[in-house]
Symmetry: D3
Subunit: 134 residues, 6 copies
């Protein structure tokens, strides 16, 4: 039901295969998920997105699991079914426990609720919360 055909490894041009190979190497799995197979219709977009993901999701000041939880939260608020499934699976593979998932869900639910309440009332930002001078 995608709006594009998925590009399988065997049918992929060399620059796509090279990225598929790198995804497999970095992720230590032969599996290439559909997102990349769709993006591969546009090799520049595939490369740019993969470079970004690799850089952004690497361990840093935040650990990889925390980054997946944030990714799930954005994907839920943005209603991206595929992204919710793929990043929930990624979070589990990075060690997310059931109690952690339950709390993630509770925070997401609460944030949606207060987002809706604040927006209804159009509450003005307290001066004390303003950090930037501009």
């Amino acid at each position: 039901m995608a709006t594009v055909e998925l590009v399988e490894y065997d049918a992929a041009p060399p620059e796509v295969r090279a990225i598929y190979d790198e995804i497999r190497a970095v992720r230590k799995t032969d599996f290439i998920n559909n997102f990349w197979k769709g993006l591969a219709n546009n090799p520049d977009q595939l490369r740019r997105t993969w470079e970004g993901i690799k850089e952004v999701m690497a361990p840093g000041a935040l650990d990889p699991l925390t980054k997946e939880l944030i990714y799930i939260a954005v994907s839920v608020a943005n209603k991206c079914e595929y992204c919710i499934h793929s990043h929930t699976a990624a979070a589990r593979s990075k060690g997310m426990t059931d109690p952690q998932y339950a709390e993630l869900m509770s925070v997401i639910g609460m944030a949606h609720s207060t987002n809706g309440l604040v927006t209804t009332m159009q509450i003005r930002v307290d001066d004390v919360f303003k950090v930037g001078k501009q």
Copy 2:
């Protein structure tokens, strides 16, 4: 510019004051932010929301800072200006460093991008990502 008047402590009915007092005690500050003052027009809603926040944001399987990062992520995707400011301030007060904030921002930006790409292509969820039987 709110659609409601803010209920200040001195003008608040007893059931509202009791919750303001508890917010102050739990948060160890005299400051009551505008969100609560707006909600106080509806004491039941104030009580229910405060009870929920207290329960959900308490330390648990996820630490309080991680919960604030998730809260910011949802609030950004939901475009709630007040919530973004108040939870960014809360995250800083709970120890969020500048490098952590920079990475939070990078993950949020990346998630928005891939959410948009996936949605454009209407990519089908890979079977391997499906956890539930239903």
Copy 3:
């Protein structure tokens, strides 16, 4: 801070004035709010939108106040600041009481919360809820 100039009555071309006159007559007020003054840069869009609003918001199977409550609910979920303010004012002018507004807000908050929870879990629609055969 609009991206367009507002078209005031005295500077408006005849086809815009005619619609301004009709808005004034239908609403029994001389006041023309900024939305119409912005749309007036594009007289066809102004006419089409006014005709639609007039038809849709008229009393029918749903009373005008209920329609304003629904309008507020959509505008909150769509994060349209102007629309929230203007339709909250319209609802008050059509008789919305403070307790009704408090309940509207509670339903909006609850709906946002369960929308977020359902989306996180990607719950499948129960067969019993499906009405259409297609």
Copy 4:
């Protein structure tokens, strides 16, 4: 396709069964819809959500059908497929007629349109619409 397993009555722990029993009693039906079965993975979240729904959706200053119409409106703007189906079914069971549904749909469509137009033009809120002093 959910990200969680659904918790059926017979497999549920006692605190979940107690809430299922109450849902059945309040709604006068044996049917427990999938939303609750998903939430039941997190009994605290289940309890908190059910208590909130029971309180918010009860008859009050707004009648139960009006509340369902508002719930549908939010769920549409938030693109929650499950919520749209379940609350449309609930509205019908509470007496929503076809002409009422047609008008609900018209208001939702019109609100989306003007939300989009206002946001494109970034129209400033008229002073007369501002209720709160802050």
Copy 5:
């Protein structure tokens, strides 16, 4: 899985058939897509929407293909699966090439990303970008 029954030509009342006939004539095809068959439950809404679409999507200062690209962009950001599929098909039928589609996707992805980054940082609008005086 729709919340309404689809109204087929043979079962449609005369005012619906008249619009179906006009859609067929304007589009030079016998095919009526499901959107119109759903709207036909509410003939006024069907007529108003068709009149609007016909007027808005006609060639003008922007060519029909550019209008379809804009329509896809909005539908993606609004997460409307049906609209994404139907307008992507429409764009292809109006001549959208694969390289154009790839660039459309890249712009949509980039816009989502910077929308998310700007919203996270709550960047103030530069004075130079402000066109309207109000």
Copy 6:
């Protein structure tokens, strides 16, 4: 009111200055808008975003003005005030006429409306619109 301080040229570290210099060269102006000054708190994010923008917004299968119209459309649907202002200004500087802007606005308004209607009815995608086999 930003959540970050803006990084001005004179206070910027060398790697940020280098990107500011390139932005100025590519855009043929000394002006650096606030978005880049906010991103500059995170030089990697600044570089990655600028590289992406430069590549994506360059002339290609779609002309630069068409890309700006698409950018505006996404930014409106995503409710990003800053992005709407900055890309509307960019579109004007690339030659967008008033009639083109009026038509852009009409398409955005219409798309929001039908997005809302389709989502309310949960219309199933017609088979004929499905391009991909998967």
